[in-house]
């Protein structure tokens, strides 16, 4: 398969601290890959290695079939990127900042700047100094710099950072459009699973520098934990009745009961019948599902203080 990004055993260590530890991943062409991890998990270090800004301690990264390194000039004209919070030359206007990038990216078409500003709704700010932009518009300018030369591959570090909800939706649609209509490959990092889940075709989870899980977004649904919440006026009796019927009942503290048994999740009606038969009719009965954030935190083992 023709991959946009391949890494094999990619490692970056600082002394005995492993920022990225034997990371091997593949991103197919046209894919939107969500690279998920908490702050400090190694996302930005990985991205900097993909872009040839950091030299890996071990392993290699191949981008569009070429090994990533600083001198790979021809390669970089096919890649657009945004690393961490975008920054621009504060004394230059939005237009001038993009003009700088257009020249350095050796884009011959002088209309590219106007087109990109339009696409990212930056045209009202074209002649504003970049130093006076709001966080959200600075982020748009960062994305504009990544998109200006119409790259085949976009490597974006937290692209939704600082955007308001409308901006988040706009950028999501923009990236989806690029992937679907122009076959652009998108590799985007995030620490928000729900954001990635809406967009990505595949998700890789990095934790302490390691890729701990890789899955199709479609498979995410099936992985989320589900349980049946039961409440009754006499919780003690309900608990006893359910235990007698062979269900493991949690949690131990006061409050509604929870059944994680797949039989209970699949058959709330059976549970209701059982409770009615035992003389403790339920006052509440419902299947609940772990939300995406909780699922993510459970994956990375950071569920302290989080229910379940």
């Amino acid at each position: 398969m023709d991959n946009a990004i391949t890494t094999a055993g990619l490692t970056k260590g600082y002394g005995d601290r492993m920022a990225v530890d034997r990371l091997s991943l593949r991103v197919g062409r046209g894919e939107i890959y969500g690279f998920l991890g908490l702050n400090g998990a190694g996302k930005t270090t990985t991205i900097r290695m993909l872009l040839g800004m950091l030299r890996p301690t071990a392993g290699v990264a191949r981008i569009l079939g070429v090994q990533a390194h600083p001198g790979a000039g021809g390669l970089w004209s096919r890649v657009g990127y945004l690393v961490e919070t975008p920054h621009a030359y504060p004394e230059l206007t939005v237009r001038q900042n993009l003009e700088v990038i257009r020249r350095l990216r050796r884009v011959a078409d002088s209309k590219a700047v106007e087109r990109t500003m339009e696409r990212l709704a930056l045209d009202p700010y074209a002649d504003r100094r970049a130093g006076t932009l709001s966080l959200g518009n600075a982020q748009r300018l960062g994305l504009a710099k990544a998109l200006l030369h119409e790259p085949e591959l976009l490597i974006l570090d937290e692209p939704a950072n600082g955007l308001d909800p409308a901006g988040v939706v706009e950028v999501r649609e923009l990236l989806l459009g690029l992937a679907q209509e122009r076959g652009v490959t998108v590799f985007m990092s995030s620490h928000i699973l729900s954001e990635v889940a809406r967009l990505a075709t595949r998700i890789g989870v990095i934790h302490h520098g390691r890729l701990i899980e890789e899955l199709e977004s479609a498979a995410l649904e099936g992985r989320r934990r589900r349980w049946l919440v039961v409440d009754a006026r006499d919780r003690r009796a309900a608990r006893a009745a359910l235990s007698n019927a062979g269900f493991a009942v949690g949690p131990d503290e006061d409050g509604p009961l929870e059944l994680t048994d797949p039989r209970a999740v699949a058959g709330p009606d059976d549970v209701a019948r059982l409770l009615v038969g035992a003389g403790v009719p339920p006052t509440r009965l419902g299947v609940e599902q772990e939300d995406l954030e909780t699922h993510f935190l459970r994956l990375v083992g950071a569920e302290k203080g989080v229910r379940r």
Partner: protein, 261 residues
């Protein structure tokens, strides 16, 4: 170096749109202004006393108030003032990319990092040369306004050559600060390095070893310590050239090979 023209264009735009050309222009203009004031005082101490510019006790020693002396002062001012002002130019051109955190945008482009570093050095050199020209032009104007004696075209041309040579030596010596700005990722480390170099250049020159310390050479060769003070030899100029080349090579290597976090 791929993309040199593009890199030069962008570096020129960045420098031109900043306040730095004005600030450095203002800073370096102090040299001919203060030099001119000196000349006025030397020329007519009574006048200076009357205006309270100097106290009645001040003993103005040495030096005539004429064009050769004034041109000499300008060359020394470029050697000493230029070390600071040209140094600040270099530190700004490189350090701002780290301070404004824009360096990331320069690292994975079809324009090579070498071209970007090269363009930065070209901008630093031309900017410093322009500042030197400003000193010379202002000097001509101020000297004429004061009515200094001893003018000749030949002298003016000689002075331009001397000013240019001093400036060239001073400019060559800023490249290590560009390296310090890159490796130190900002303004403070190179500013520290620059003031250390200037301080050492004074101390070492005072001890008589100035010909062997590159940062002492421009001032010595401009005649700051008097015509018969210390000998600057061909080796001293070679030392300056080597220091400048090492600074440039170090900066280039840093941009090309070091981890850019």
């Amino acid at each position: 170096m791929k993309g040199m023209a593009a890199a030069l264009w962008t570096e020129g735009l960045k420098a031109g749109r900043s306040k730095m050309p004005w600030l450095t222009g203002l800073g370096i203009s102090l040299a001919p202004l203060v030099g001119g004031l000196f000349m006025m005082i030397l020329k007519d101490p009574q006048w200076a006393r009357r205006f309270g510019l100097i106290t009645t006790k001040a003993q103005i020693r040495g030096g005539a108030a004429d064009w050769p002396a004034y041109f000499g002062l300008l060359a020394q001012a470029v050697a000493v003032g230029g070390a600071i002002v040209f140094g600040l130019v270099a530190i700004w051109v490189f350090g701002r990319e780290y301070s404004d955190r824009t360096v990331t945008d320069l690292l994975a482009l079809p324009t090579s990092r070498g071209a970007i570093v090269g363009a930065k050095f070209v901008v630093i050199a031309s900017w410093s040369a322009a500042l030197t020209a400003l000193v010379y032009a202002l000097g001509l104007g101020i000297g004429a306004a004061i009515g200094l004696p001893g003018w000749s075209i030949g002298l003016a041309i000689d002075a331009a050559g001397r000013l240019g040579a001093t400036a060239a030596l001073t400019i060559a010596l800023v490249s290590p600060f560009a390296w310090a700005a890159s490796a130190g990722r900002g303004y403070l480390p190179p500013i520290g390095a620059m003031f250390l170099a200037i301080f050492l250049s004074q101390v070492i020159a005072a001890l008589g070893w100035g010909a062997y310390f590159p940062w002492s050479v421009p001032a010595l060769s401009s005649g700051v310590a008097g015509p018969d003070a210390q000998h600057v030899e061909a080796g001293s100029y070679l030392l300056v050239a080597l220091t400048g080349a090492a600074g440039m090579a170090g900066t280039l290597a840093w941009w090309r090979f070091a981890d850019q976090t």
